[in-house]
């Protein structure tokens, strides 16, 4: 069974559209994250939620809005998509307040292409 699963894996959409990426983890973790990987493979954190509460919100445009209906899910909604939003978005999860970094598990990624 996949520990951190994201859907869709591939998404091609036009500029101006609104789209969502869903993420679910079955590891019983309390904290979930969204990371963005650009064309140069640079990975940067966007958001983090712990038990449905926002704990990290990096400098991300307001068009990006995370939603956590429960601690096993963290969805990413993007409004008014722009060409620069094209990237791979990774969901991840970890245990709350556990310092060991090897508890951070990444999903397989969602490839977003804005045309």
């Amino acid at each position: 069974d996949t520990a951190v699963s994201q859907t869709p894996k591939y998404l091609v959409t036009q500029m101006g559209n609104d789209k969502s990426i869903k993420c679910e983890q079955n590891l019983g973790h309390d904290t979930m994250y969204w990371y963005k990987q650009d064309s140069k493979k640079f990975l940067k954190i966007m958001f983090s939620y712990n038990n449905k509460e926002l704990i990290i919100n990096e400098t991300v445009p307001n068009r990006f809005s995370p939603k956590s209906p429960d601690k096993a899910h963290l969805n990413l909604h993007i409004n008014s998509l722009e060409l620069g939003d094209s990237a791979v978005y990774f969901c991840a999860s970890s245990q709350y307040r556990v310092p060991k970094p090897n508890t951070i598990y990444f999903g397989e990624g969602s490839w977003l292409t804005v045309v």
Binding site: L43, R97, K100, T103, F106
Partner: protein
């Protein structure tokens, strides 16, 4: 600002040789450093970590060295195999006061194993 960077974007090695991937960091307050492996089309996968109070840690075929004096981290892979071909990231882990971990990634090194 904080940054974690890699010296070489691409490293080519012969199968069976040892690989050394280097990383420089700037945040001397980091508690953990981690190496991740990202295979094509997949999410980052934990390889090995090292705490800031250590200078060496060994795993299966991998060794991480930490030199805090020059803020340098390296990953050594013994007897490199074709399956080791991937992008390798070093990352600095920070424990958040609100809980959870925040990873700051370097730019990545592409390891190519030649037969």
């Amino acid at each position: 600002g904080e940054s974690v960077g890699l010296h070489l974007p691409t490293l080519s090695v012969q199968e069976g040789d040892n690989s050394i991937i280097n990383c420089a960091y700037s945040n001397s307050a980091s508690d953990y450093f981690i190496w991740y492996k990202q295979e094509s089309g997949k999410g980052p996968q934990f390889i090995i970590d090292i705490r800031s109070n250590m200078d060496k840690r060994q795993g299966q075929r991998v060794t991480v060295l930490l030199n805090k004096t020059v803020k340098h981290l390296s990953l050594q892979i013994a007897a490199t195999q074709p399956g080791d071909s991937a992008v390798y990231f070093c990352a600095e882990n920070s424990i958040l006061t609100g809980g959870g971990n925040k990873l700051t990634f370097g730019t990545g090194t592409q390891l190519k194993v030649e037969l």
